[in-house]
Amino acid sequence: MASHSESIIREPLITGKNITYAQITNEVLAPVENKPNMAWWIGFVLSVMGASVWLFSISWTFWYGIGEWGLNKTVGWAWDITGFVWWVGIGHAGTLISAVLLIFRQNWRNSINRSAEAMTIFAVICAATYIFGHMGRVWLAYWTLPLPNQFGSLWVNWNSALMMDVFAISTYFSVSLVFWYTGLLPDIASIRDRATGLRRRIYSIMSFGWTGSVKTWQRFETVSLILAGISTPLVLSVHTIVSFDFATSLEPGWHTTIFPPYFVAGAIFSGFAMVQTLLLIARKVLGLENYITMFHIESMNKIIVLTGSVVGVAYITEFFIAWYSGVEYEQYAFINRATGPYWWAYWSMMTCNVITPQLFWFKKIRINIPLSWVLSIIVNIGMWFERFVIIVTSLHRDYLPSSWVMFYPTWTDVGIFVGSIGFFFVMFLLFLRVLPSVAMAEVKLLLKTSSEQAKKKLIDEGHLDPTHVDDYVTSLEKYDSVDLTQYHKA
């Protein structure tokens, strides 16, 4: 512990004056060990209502077939694949936060990785429902696996990007789940050792017998690091492969080499926006302001403005390359996007994804919680429109003008999409009730080095040049918990 040293003028990762290890456990486990509050119940009831819409719409689809959707002979992919790519994209931030930031030793991830990973799991589940739904005959989903079969020596088509999808998504889901659950073990053990009766039994089974001995911790950290190391290329590969679904086709507007990096950037963009949407509410409702601080919010906003700009550059590059390629079909596809019948979707996408996130260049907006929340939702909407624009505007008018049509969603399309959001929130809210939403062990690790009180202790002990103390005090002004009079003596 003593070997750790961090600059005092770095912003603290845990705020609050007298936080102890026990307090971290108490505060993080408060929602798990106590009855839920009114805000949770309101959210849960609304989500269950949404989820029942989803259940009804998806059952309707399975019963009557995907003819219930607004698809037609030209637009064979529409809201379903839009929803699928949107949810998979949202999932990506969780792995990014837990894996990439771990490799780069960005300790601010410690407070948010748990809920971000949970979000990944639930978002990928939502994404998977679209894939299964789109199959039409969902009970034959196992045909996508390379199983010996009775239909002659037929095997799956390994040259198809859709087959790559099956492998990418299933690997991504299962590896994310393993990463998430392994990380949960120490915290589940904490719940177990505080619980009684049936709860203790259940958490005891779930904790795998974790004791927290030295060797286990050391192995645990090795496992986390290697998992992070392999998850980082995995997360990049998954959205690259999702983009292959489009890029390997010969459809104007799809057949572009920019798709893999552009999809990955978009995924991180939308994923961070969703983390922001969830955590800004969760920190307030669960009282976790000392752990998910303004520094975390601002850091995530910075990533949103970065990835939003990357996405913006990609949009412009697509346009440029369409013109520069000299392919008239490609050129028409892009002019049609901006000025054709779906112009409103295109310009909604541009406004939500390229223009509004640029507001985050202003620090005042970056550290404004209500504005951050609103902007994060705008990004979510914009990213949905991005996928809609790519899919529907490319398909509805391609090489053959005689088959040009419009796509109109049916109530089933709308019900499945809106309902899937409800389904997602049901899972997320239940997660908040049964498992710790902040990785306690990892946050405890920061208490002695990066917390506000650790830094104050260093100032009091005279480790900081008195001329720099003022800088530090000014930098802390934005934190609610700081009583500045305590610093002036130093």
Partner: protein, 179 residues
């Protein structure tokens, strides 16, 4: 003969716990194990815990995954049922890359985590062998095997000198969950 099986030094502060370990080691008192609510960096060198070999396990599992899926794809697409799809060659390695990559990672992750669970004796439903319930909350616990390590008072004194907030003389090895 004392009926104490284990002496536990419970610390509030990880630095003091480290100090406790140093003090015990200087007095040649062997430490059974240390239980903490979070990973303590640098402790494994102090206690002589060997470096993890999980990396090798991960590498081997990854190699197996890559081989398995490449073989499956090769057997099905090139050997067993070569299909003419758009005139593409059957043995088209670039198309094999995504599958090989994904299963390398899948096998690495599952293989390594399974190895980790096996090596540290973790599995669903295993009875937790906890010496002190607060070791997963806010206490940093040094456990000393009492048998053969006498006098116990010296151990207690050393732990208290290091800053232990509580020293327990346990008659049982583990906390019983059934009480």
């Amino acid at each position: 003969m004392s009926s104490t099986k284990f002496i536990l030094g419970c610390f509030e502060d990880p630095d003091q716990m480290m100090d406790g370990i140093t003090k015990l080691q200087k007095n040649s008192i062997p430490i059974y194990d240390v239980y903490t609510p979070m990973p303590i960096h640098g402790i494994e060198a102090k206690l002589g815990v060997k470096e993890s070999r999980l990396g090798y396990a991960a590498f081997c599992c990854g190699c197996i995954g890559a081989t398995v899926i490449f073989s499956i794809v090769y057997y099905t697409l090139v050997h067993d049922w070569p299909m003419n799809i758009g005139g593409k060659p059957n043995f088209s390695i670039p198309n094999f890359v995504p599958f090989t990559f994904e299963w390398t990672i899948l096998f690495t992750a599952f293989g390594m985590v399974a190895t980790f669970f096996a090596a540290t004796h973790l599995f669903p439903g295993r009875a937790p062998r906890v010496m002190d319930l607060r070791a997963t909350d806010d206490r940093f616990v040094i456990a000393v095997d009492a048998k053969g390590n006498v006098p116990h008072d010296d151990i207690t004194r050393l732990l208290e000198e290091a800053g232990a907030v509580e020293v327990k003389h346990n008659k049982r090895k583990y906390v019983s969950y059934d009480e």
